[in-house]
């Protein structure tokens, strides 16, 4: 059979360019709106990790697409096969080279940058001066509780849950008398570590603060803690990122980071009002 390699030069160039240019163009278009601006101290580690990954895998992504595009263009020009088979040595060397490269890039990233940040988030205790907030989501709202002046939460019992006692605070427990509760609004001072104590009443929800690079599922039956340090004042949206039912998309809370003075004012006004009422 005659060589049926009747492909036009044009097609080869088109397919080659597809791989070389399309991917790059999409990245350029897509990256206009980057990560939301960072507002926490821990988050810097996450951002460092993301930038490291973008640079290293981004480079491999571009090189890979470029090589593929080049091969298509180069080896579609007719003529015979130019390299029938690689020698076993060449095959082996490529495997070893890639093994090393991936070990360095992937494992290196995890161990050198990822692990310290991960440990800081999930396996280190918050400093003693941390502010503790308990967040107990339900379909489709965030119940918030502060331990009040004594710094200790009162007991809760799910059997006490009813319409005006949404997380079942025990009225008999003296430690709970000064607890302050709210819905969908969290207030914290800037610069002071916040410890969020997550529980859930019904299904799994997920506490996500995109500007703080904080995400943690809230799982019924478990109490999970996560801590971080807000570094910028402002009013931030708190979406839920674990599918929790039909209102999942509008389960919005607010995370208000105040200056230290504003926080004290807010506290004295609202906590006091609560106790009186």
């Amino acid at each position: 059979m005659a060589d049926d390699n009747s492909q036009g030069r044009f097609e080869a160039i088109a397919v080659g360019l597809l791989f070389m240019v399309l991917a790059v163009a999409m990245v350029a278009l897509g990256s206009r709106d980057w990560l939301p601006e960072l507002a926490s101290r821990h988050g810097a580690g996450v951002d460092k990790m993301l930038v490291y990954l973008l640079v290293t895998t981004g480079a491999m992504f571009l090189v890979g697409h470029f090589v593929l595009g080049f091969f298509v263009w180069r080896y579609t020009r007719g003529g015979g096969v130019q390299n029938r088979m690689a020698s076993p040595k060449m095959e082996r060397n490529w495997s070893i080279a890639l093994g090393l490269l991936m070990t360095l890039v992937a494992e290196g990233g995890v161990l050198a940058i990822g692990m310290p940040t991960w440990t800081e988030y999930f396996a280190s205790a918050p400093p003693g001066d941390a502010l503790t907030v308990e967040v107990t989501p339900e379909q489709f709202a965030w119940n918030v509780r502060y331990p009040g002046a004594d710094g200790v939460f009162g007991e809760t019992d799910s059997s006490l849950i009813e319409l005006n006692n949404p997380i079942g605070v025990d009225p008999e427990d003296p430690r709970g008398k000064d607890d302050y509760t709210a819905i969908n609004q969290i207030h914290v001072p800037v610069g002071r570590p916040v410890r969020v104590r997550l529980r859930s009443k019904d299904v799994i929800h997920s506490f996500f603060l995109p500007q703080f690079r904080v995400k943690q599922d809230a799982v019924p039956g478990m109490t999970i803690e996560v801590w971080f340090v807000p570094t910028k004042t402002g009013r931030y949206e708190l979406p839920c990122t674990e599918l929790c039912g039909l209102g999942h998309y509008r389960m919005k809370g607010f995370f208000n980071v105040l200056t230290a003075e504003d926080f004290e004012t807010w506290k004295s006004e609202t906590f006091a009002a609560e106790e009186v009422g």
């Binding site: 709106d33 990954l53 090589v67 379909q139 019924p220 039956g221 478990m222 990122t241 509008r250």
Partner: protein
């Protein structure tokens, strides 16, 4: 028994011929893809134009689209059913069950599968499970709506969401049936590949397609049964008051539940113990068929044959022990998070080697840009793109930001959506002549390729960036959040691209049907390829080899050998006429 002696029903419907069964799976899978694809289009419409009225959809879904406006509960049903259908009832059926059944016996030189009757049974169980899954749409309260991962308590408590009533029960039953059928056919694959090879077909002479089906079947058989157990446990929690996955003190929709002592995390472990290996069960065959297709269109042997087979095995083994990388922020012990992160990164090594072996198989060849080759080349690019996204997500620290956002949606669509989809198409365009004796139309095929690949990048690469910005997934609408306002334009763009993608698939359907009836007649070996199936008539008769079984003399990729007259040397060509090079 020859074909003639069997009636129509025994020949085409309740057939035990692996080729007919393969084609049955393929057609069933494409019907399901039509449903899954339509659901995706509806989701994208809602995301780009939230709350808009689409009168014509009301007739189809009187409840979910009441007044032509989509309800939030219907949207999450769509997400759930789209994901489930695409993963289990489209890609699994077409690529793993369809092509697996069709190709394994003809590529290893067997007359049929080891257990033909069991094979037929697997298909009919699979068809039944597809019907049960679709029935979920007609359940009161609507289809299952807890996501394709079906996390309890959402999936366990009937009052949690409208679809968690009968819809979810049907979903669970369908999954259990599916896994049962898939396990049976997996055992069949393993038995066939190990014991039915023609004389001379050693393991190291198997085409990489067969290697990939072998590893995929082993992984499937080991990883799937735990989910059957989990599905049954969940059914017990739902209907018989047990508490495997439900802790004490649940208060759902104002109602106190009596459960005690379970944990939702158990389900997540059991689910992902299947869910993650499932990804490899789907991807390995896509990589396998591409290694068969590349040499036929570059006229040179594959690069790194043995290494590739070893990498399949390595990926299969490692794939079974990294499921926890879906659970970094689930509340499990953070130290196990570190373990899963490190092990996940180990998988990048065999994956990268496979990627380079694919590139190496293109290098130095004499490329023919026919449609199957275009899809194979696209697959190489997708495997890279998906793989790099995977490095982000496998990294626990980066996953804190990216988990459950559109970055994940972009990534898994490249992997289990894209690599498998392009592998499926490459396989169809390549083996269609063998299956039906006719060629597919090249021009339509090329338009299909261009539209698919450009649209795919536009949809799913863009979604990576939408995700980096923090956009959560499984959202009915993004109107409520200010921090997502900059993403609106991109979301609309994605929707338009999705319609291009959808339209291109309809073009493929046209090509498929038209070629079936009117395509140019294909000979025995239209691509001049080397593996055994290309020595059979197109289509091959029942029993494949009418006379004696072939004797295999060499490996599967003898192209452009120096001593040969032609630029390919079939696996049965005598070693004395053309020397064996590998």
């Amino acid at each position: 028994m020859t074909d003639k002696e069997l009636g129509f029903v025994r020949r085409y419907i309740f057939s035990t011929d692996h080729k007919i069964i393969g084609i049955q799976y393929i057609l069933t899978g494409f019907l399901m893809a039509l449903v899954g694809g339509a659901l995706a289009m509806m989701m994208r419409m809602q995301i780009a134009w939230p709350g808009r009225q689409w009168g014509f959809l009301e007739a189809l879904f009187p409840n979910g689209m009441a007044g032509g406006i989509m309800t939030p509960e219907f949207y999450i049903s769509l997400v759930t059913m789209h994901g489930t259908i695409m993963v289990f009832f489209f890609i699994s059926y077409v690529l793993v069950s369809g092509f697996g059944n069709y190709l394994i016996p003809v590529q290893i030189g067997a007359r049929d599968m080891a257990f033909p009757f069991l094979n037929m049974l697997s298909y009919w169980l699979a068809a039944l499970s597809a019907l049960v899954m679709l029935a979920s749409f007609f359940a009161p309260g609507g289809a299952a709506a807890a996501g394709w991962t079906a996390y309890p308590p959402l999936s366990a408590i009937a009052s949690a969401v409208p679809g968690s009533g009968l819809g979810q029960t049907l979903w669970l039953l369908a999954m259990a049936l599916f896994i049962f059928s898939f396990t049976l056919s997996g055992l069949n694959y393993i038995a066939t590949i190990l014991s039915m090879r023609a004389p001379g077909m050693s393991m190291w002479r198997l085409p990489l397609t067969v290697w990939s089906y072998f590893v995929s079947a082993v992984v499937g058989v080991l990883a799937f049964p735990p989910l059957t157990a989990a599905a049954i446990m969940l059914l017990f929690d739902r209907h018989f008051g047990t508490s495997f996955f439900l802790p004490d003190g649940l208060v759902v929709a104002g109602e106190h539940l009596p459960h005690q002592g379970g944990t939702p995390l158990l389900w997540q472990h059991l689910f992902w113990f299947l869910g993650h290996p499932e990804v490899y069960v789907l991807i390995l065959p896509a990589l396998g068929v591409v290694f068969d297709i590349l040499p036929a269109f570059t006229r040179k042997p594959v690069f790194g044959y043995r290494m590739t087979a070893w990498c399949y095995l390595a990926i299969g083994a490692l794939g079974m022990i990294v499921w926890g990388h879906h659970m970094f922020v689930s509340g499990m012990n953070p130290y196990s998070g570190e373990y899963f992160s490190i092990m996940t990164m180990v998988i990048t090594i065999p994956s990268a080697i496979i990627g380079v072996n694919m590139l190496g198989s293109v290098w130095g060849g004499s490329i023919r840009l026919k449609t199957p080759m275009l899809f194979a080349l696209g697959l190489i690019a997708f495997f890279g793109t998906g793989g790099f996204g995977g490095i982000f997500l496998g990294n626990a620290t980066a996953d804190i930001q990216l988990h459950d956002t559109y970055f994940v949606v972009g990534h898994f669509h490249f992997m289990i959506g894209g690599v498998t989809l392009l592998g499926t198409y490459a396989a169809i365009y390549f083996w269609f002549p063998k299956m039906f004796g006719r060629m597919m139309n090249e021009t339509l095929g090329k338009i299909h390729f261009w539209a698919t690949i450009v649209a795919f990048y536009s949809i799913f690469l863009t979604q990576h960036f939408i995700g980096l910005a923090g956009t959560p997934r499984r959202y009915y609408a993004f109107i409520d959040y200010e921090f997502l306002a900059p993403m609106r334009g991109m979301q609309t763009f994605v929707t338009f691209a999705a319609f291009v993608m959808g339209a291109a698939q309809l073009l493929f359907a046209v090509n498929f049907c038209w070629s079936l009836l009117k395509g140019r007649k294909a000979g025995v070996n239209p691509w001049r390829a080397t593996t055994l199936e290309w020595t059979l008539p197109s289509p091959p008769p029942h029993g494949n080899w009418t006379g004696e079984l072939p004797t295999v003399e060499r490996w599967a990729y003898e192209y452009s050998a120096d001593e040969a007259e032609e630029d390919f040397t079939g696996q049965t060509v005598d070693a004395s006429s053309v020397p064996v090079t590998f």
